[in-house]
Symmetry: C2
Subunit: 280 residues, 2 copies
């Protein structure tokens, strides 16, 4: 992996990297935050998955998570939301499909199947690479995200629960098989057979008895996408039935923006720090 930028930030450093991905047959970009404790010992890490149109930079420049990463001694890892500039026709046309909209699935359909494998990329390549190259304790990793990335965090945790200690999401797409953004992306990436969509649907995976991890969800009450795209009520329902350990916080008046994320990122960092046993 090649460092392309380096910024001192709070006690530590923000770094941007590029590396070659086999899963995406492409160069991929990601960023990290290394708090100063990383000089002395291996630390827990949290993966952050961003939402539609975002890249490796939005979260680390807007959410204000670094101060809490310092407080708890946690490394942050922020992948891009898709491969970029891989020559797929139409991949730049829509904000909710293609570049910036990988949806954390492994595409099976032409023209996406060669490059759009974000599940495989993050789980099989990015995490192992970070654990090999950075002072990360591989037994202490959690995952969180926003909107499309909240869906991604939940789905990756439900599909690969052995890798994570806890999962959280801001305004996640809870039931992508049943809502417009998800339906559009899944149809393109996975095809017309809706059965293939279910392995990337948090509600379905919880219904099916996925292994339990501590889950926190934050949802703004003035979120413009709440009713049509996010449907947290479906997540609450399946979690209740499956006795899945969901902590759900509804925040009156907050919308879908980074102003919402920044307001509660401290609570999410503390949630993960507790489950990563950062006081050990």
């Amino acid at each position: 992996m090649q460092q392309i930028a380096n910024y001192k930030s709070f006690s530590g450093e923000v770094k941007y990297f590029q590396h070659q991905s086999k899963a995406c047959d492409s160069e991929m970009t990601f960023s990290i935050y290394l708090p100063k404790q990383a000089i002395e010992k291996k630390l827990p890490a949290i993966l952050w998955l961003s939402g539609l149109t975002c890249n490796h930079e939005n979260f680390i420049s807007k959410a204000g998570a670094q101060q809490y990463a310092d407080e708890h001694g946690i490394i942050l890892i922020m992948p891009d939301t898709s491969p970029r500039n891989v020559g797929v026709a139409g991949a730049d046309n829509d904000y909710d499909l293609g570049y910036g909209a990988g949806f954390y699935v492994n595409a099976t359909q032409v023209p996406w199947q060669k490059n759009f494998s974000m599940d495989k990329y993050i789980i099989k390549e990015l995490l192992p690479l970070c654990c090999a190259e950075l002072p990360i304790n591989p037994d202490k990793i959690s995952i969180m995200g926003h909107s499309m990335g909240g869906h991604g965090a939940m789905v990756l945790a439900l599909r690969h629960p052995e890798l994570f200690q806890s999962v959280s999401a801001f305004a996640p797409i809870c039931a992508p098989s049943q809502t417009p953004w998800g339906e559009k992306a899944f149809k393109a990436y996975l095809g017309d057979d809706r059965n293939t969509w279910l392995e990337y649907d948090s509600c379905y995976l919880i219904q099916q008895g996925a292994k339990k991890l501590p889950l926190r969800v934050e949802q703004g009450g003035a979120d413009q996408f709440l009713a049509e795209q996010l449907k947290p009520e479906l997540l609450q329902e399946v979690c209740t039935i499956a006795q899945y350990p969901l902590e759900y916080y509804f925040r009156d008046g907050f919308d879908h923006s980074y102003y919402f994320i920044a307001s509660f990122i401290g609570e999410h960092m503390a949630f993960h720090a507790a489950h990563l046993a950062c006081t050990d």
Copy 2:
């Protein structure tokens, strides 16, 4: 003034406004942060002036100041860095002249003199408007900024010291009459006579015995513009000679970005809170 956006953020609200400016003969945009204490009483306020290419949004979405505004009970006001789309030929050509680069002066030269009067706009229009329309205590106002806006904060405080309780700057352009960004802008906005530039040069105004206000300056050691554009050593020198109360902090390894600002905004907010007597 017309509200164009409203975001719940931390304890309070971020709002974007537009209003008609006579000084700039143009519609102007600005943002504010109102902490929850504003519901109950008049609060102190801090004006933030942004740097080149920025608008009313960069600081409030990236610096993480809201948590400290909450802590101290301070309103934040963030103007845009210039008028926009006023039909001045060439105003969009360069990142360091025209739109996004008002330099906080009152332009006297064609084609800028009709619209580019940011000093007059902020002092005579924006501040009075905010004091009239928002729960601000007009006797408790401070000013801070970054780069071009650090220059702006110092120059406005030095030119209008009766309006402010304290001033601070991140990586300010300290001697714009003697450095390339400042020379280019001042020549365009103010003309060839360098004597006219001096009334917007912090070092000159301090040398001339401007009324003293508490001043804090933060400068990153890895700032890519430090040697050529910023020249804090000239500011330190004139402050020493004039016994101007400068607190200067050199931060090894930090660059010119918002990663730097976010790392020390808490200290700047506390500095102003102390001088605004926020514990009263």
